[in-house]
Every structure is written in C-alpha cells, then in structure tokens.
Amino acid sequence: MTAETITSGAPGPAGQDGATGDVLLRLDDVHTYYGQIHALKGVTIEVNRGEVVTLIGANGAGKTTTLKTVCGLLHPRQGTVTFDGQDVSKTAAHNLVKAGIGHAPEGRRIFSRLTVLENLQMGGFTRPPEEIDEDVERIMTLFPRLKERTYQQGGTLSGGEQQMLAIGRAMMSRPRLLLLDEPSLGLAPILIQVVFETIKEINAAGTTILLVEQNALQALNIAHRGYVLQTGNVVLTGDAAELREDETVRKAYLGEI
C-alpha cells in the first residue's frame, strides 16, 4: 500500500530546528512478523537528522513493532532498515546501542531491583566507564527528581519518575537516535506536559527522536513530521502541522467527532 503524502515532494522541514534534511534512519518496505502474524506490511519511514518524527495510530497499528524492528529486538523478514547509511536489518539489539540507537521501551521496563543510579549506569553500559559519572550528572540535571531518588530502587518510583528514568537511561548511551514508546502512558496530565517539554529539550540539544504516541495531538505539537499507521501500513504522512489539520487524523486520532 502506498501512503498518501500531504506535502508532496518535501521529505521534511529542512532547515527547521536544526533538521538538515539528511536521512539518519530509513525503513524501506519493512515486513515484520510475530511468528505467523504479519504485523508490519511494508512500512516505509524516514527520519532525518535533528528531527522529531512521530508515529501515531490506534492500538495494534504496528507502532511498537516498528520501534522494535528499528532497535533490533525484531528483525524484518523482508525489506531493510538503514541507520546512518548502514543496513542494520539483521544487527542484534545490543550492537545497535553501540551504533547509536537508544530506546525507552513501552511500559518503561525499569530494572526495579536496581537503584536509580544503577539503572542509569546500565544505560551507559556501552560507554567508556570513566565517562559514566559525568553522564549520570547530566541526566540528573535534566531530571532533578532522579537525583533525589539516587539510591532508591527503581521499582519504588512513581510512574512519572519511572518514565523520566526510562528516558534518562536511554539517553545515557548518548544515542544519535532516541526511540520513545508511549512516554506519556499512564501519567497525570501535568506530568505529560513535563515529559513532552523534556523531549523538546533533548531534541533541541541535538538528538533525533522517533516518538510513538497514542496522545496524537501532543505528539504532533512537538514533532516536525508524522506518520499515521493503520494495521501495519503507513496510511498517511506529512508535516506535523498539516497532520494536525487533516480531517481523517482529527476524526480518528485527535478525538473529534
């Protein structure tokens, strides 16, 4: 299926917010399966350096599967994933972290019996050990709440704190591409604001972000571009501002009737 493109021709908001227009991540006709289940049916997505790109869509549309295919937890049966010019379709997840892909997975997946500090140190597993303390400091400046909880076990944190820890932990590998899966899930509205503000800050500091969200409006507010997924296909793509105005998107995902 070919996706409808709202802004024809333009691959992204080149020159805007540091986006340079060159492709960091490209999924080309990616088909991913869970056993016999055909979850992604030919997804083609591009993320340019410096961009925030969001994937929106209903439950089961394939958003999380797309991220798992990018980070190497799943491998495409057909099609290619190209990261920074390299074909990484068959690369194992732990090697992709070294290559520069950080992932804050769905459900946060904090190490609940490790302390906050240890969780962050784990995030820096691929980094030179002598640079980890400095990076921990950096993340704790970004999330002061984590500093207060340094020696607390991850499992004792509140949902919002866990989400901050998950994002901070993913940032510890100094990724060039940060994958965020439903960072606002289960958070109070005020915390959702904080999380989205932080995502904007991280992007402004130079990290490219691929964001999966059910909270489509919020996601489109901070993203440069977006893709709409439906049952394993990209059905719509375009600039975030235009997707926000698009009638089908408004009806289906922004809660308008």
Binding site: C71, L73, A92, A93, H94, N95, V97, K98, H103, P105, G107, R108, R109, I110, F111, S112, R113, L114, T115, L117, E118, Q121, M122, G123, F125, T126, P129, T150, Y151, Q153, G155, T156, L157, S158, G159, Q162, R169, A170, S173
Partner: protein, 354 residues
C-alpha cells in the same frame, strides 16, 4: 539475581543490612552452639558439631549459588548442576592421583602433605584445574544443551537439564564404575584446640576459602559493570539488551561462575568426605537446590544462607542420633518457611512494573 546489599557505597540501608546479616549469623551460630552444648551436655562435642556444620554448609552454599544464579538469569532449574559438582570432585581426584603429583611429588600412602608450601601448591593446582574445567564444562552445557532451547517452552530446557544430569552420571560411571573412589587426604588429621574440641585445619580451610569465594562473588555481582549487567539481565532480558548487554555473553558468564564454584566445592567434597562416587551429585544437588529455594531463589546471599541453614539442620539431627530423619527435618523446615515467606528467607517481592 539479587544481592542483599545495594551496590552503592553511599547507600546507608544496604550498609546496615549487610552488617545486620553478619550479626544475625553470629548470634545464630552461638545460639546453635549453646543448644547443642545443652542437649549433648558437652561443649567439646558441640564445638565439633558447629565446625562440621560450617564446613558442610560451605560446600552446600557454593553449589547452591550455581543453582540460584542460573535460575535468576534464565529461570531454569539446572538439574545438571549437582553433577557438574560431582564431575569436579572427580577432576580433583584425578589431579591428585595424576603421575606428576602422586608419584613425582609423592603423596605417599596416606596422602598427607606436611610441608605447608607444597600443600599450598598442590591445592592451588587442584583448585585451578577443577574450577577451570568445570567452568568450561558448565559453559559448554549451556552453549549446546540450553541455548538452542532458549525460546522454547520452559519445560524443554528443564527436561534437557535432567538429561544432561544423567549423561554426566553415566559418563563418570562408565569411566570409574559405581564404587567409592578414595581421595588422597592432603590435610593432617590434627588441628587446633577450640573449646575442648580438636578442629581440623581442613574444616577451617574449607570454611575460609568458601567465605572468600562467596564474598568475592558478592562483590563482583554488586559492584562491577559486568555484575550489574548480570543483575539487569536477570530482571529483564529485553531491557538489558536495549542497554547494549550481550545476552549470550552474560548468560555464558553466569554458567562460567557457577561452574567454577561447583569445581571448588568438588575439591572440598573429596577432602572432607574422603571419597567420591558417580552419584554424589544427586544428593548434593537436591540439598543445594533446596538451600537456594530456602534462601530465596535468585538471591545470592539467600543461597549461601540456605546452604548453611541446611547443614546446621542436618548436623543437628545427626548429633541427636536422628540422622535418618535429617532429610525429613530439612524439608519440613523448607515447607514451613515457604508457607510464611513464599519467596524464601531473603526473597524480595517488589513490584516489577509499577
């Protein structure tokens, strides 16, 4: 996999907890001694029994760690682990009776080595050979028997583990037969006087070496980068991969450590028991596994604690002339503990994902 202490040097609760554990252990040992002394009406016999319990407990603890580490990281009850321990005890026997040591160095009729430097050298060699070979064996078992089944239903590797256990037993049985094989006793029979009892140097040696190994492992797991990766993998394999942890390497390392500890315990076994046999892995494995469950499976400190507790119970039963009840007593205690603390003595139940 958990340790009883959080890894941060500045973490006050972990610090206190650690010394509390040491304190409780000392109080427990003293209480156990007093109870025995009262029941047996002799402090000398009681001291002797405490020494026996600590020695036996050290062996159980080392084997139990292999069970608990593997369970912690891949949720497999590795039934073959007791047999790795058994093979380790044979490797120690073969090392001691090998030509260079037995004839050239000359263990003689009794095997007792009185020259301290020579004794240390022979022990070092025996430990190295047994620990390295058992580490390799255990890693090989994981690589060829368990790894291909990693994504299979849990019962498949479990059955495979039983199969590996039988293979190891049968291979040893084919090589040496079914009888007891005497092991050269390196340590002199005398010792030092403590509360009227003659405590053999062997007992002290086993206990101290085991303590060093336990402490070293605990430090490794709680303080090093790779140890942290092991704990993270034990909690969430996928999340650990997303941190850049190589799953295969981490699991292989777990088997390596477990195998090395079983190898060390195998050396102790031959020296303490005086003989080895192809089927001693079964009983030891059963007790060590029980120890791991009693302490809280997946918890390293718990496994060590469980090992010592089981040894204390067994020795207590034996000291009161109830040796045939010792297994029953151990399992009754296990059941009672699990009724009140289903996760084991030190097992934690913190919400996985809040």
């Amino acid at each position: 996999m958990t340790v009883a202490r959080s890894s941060s040097p500045a973490s006050a609760p972990g610090f206190i907890r650690r010394f509390r554990l040491v304190g409780y252990s000392l109080i427990g040992i003293v209480a156990y001694f007093l109870l025995l002394a009262f029941m047996l009406n002799s402090t000398a016999t009681a001291a002797q029994q405490v020494a026996n319990a600590l020695t036996l407990g050290a062996i159980y603890a080392l084997v139990a760690l292999g069970y608990t580490m593997v369970y912690g990281i891949i949720e497999l009850i590795n039934f073959a682990h007791g047999d790795v321990f058994m093979v380790g005890s044979f490797v120690a026997l073969w090392t001691l009776t090998s030509d260079p040591i037995f004839n050239v160095v000359g263990l003689g009729q009794t095997g007792i080595v009185t020259n301290i430097a020579l004794l240390a050298g022979i022990l070092l060699l025996t430990f190295t050979v047994s620990m390295v070979l058992m580490a390799v064996l255990n890693m090989g078992i994981e690589r060829f028997a368990y790894r291909p089944l990693r994504n299979a239903p849990k019962v498949a590797p479990l059955i495979t583990a039983i199969g590996v256990s039988l293979i190891l037993q049968n291979v040893i049985q084919i090589i040496v037969g079914t009888g007891d094989r005497p092991v050269p006793q390196l340590f002199p029979t005398d010792g030092f006087q403590f509360l009227g009892a003659n405590i053999r140097y062997l007992n002290l040696f086993i206990f101290l070496v085991a303590l060093v190994l336990l402490y070293g492992l605990q430090q490794f797991v709680s303080r090093t980068r790779l140890g942290r990766a092991m704990r993270a993998t034990a909690q969430d394999q996928q999340a650990a991969q997303l941190m850049g942890v190589d799953l295969n390497q981490t699991i292989a390392m777990t088997f390596l450590i477990g195998g090395a500890l079983a190898g060390a315990a195998g050396v102790f076994q031959g020296q303490y028991l005086g003989y080895v046999r192809f089927d001693l892995g079964f009983n030891a494995g059963l007790k060590a596994f029980t120890a791991a469950v009693l302490g809280g499976i997946g918890n390293l400190t718990g496994a060590a604690l469980g090992g010592f507790l089981i040894a204390f119970l067994e020795v207590f039963a034996a000291a009161n002339g109830q040796q045939r009840w010792s297994q029953a007593i151990v399992f009754v205690v296990l059941i009672v503990v699990l009724v009140f603390r289903p996760a084991g003595i030190l097992g934690q139940q913190i919400g996985e994902r809040a």
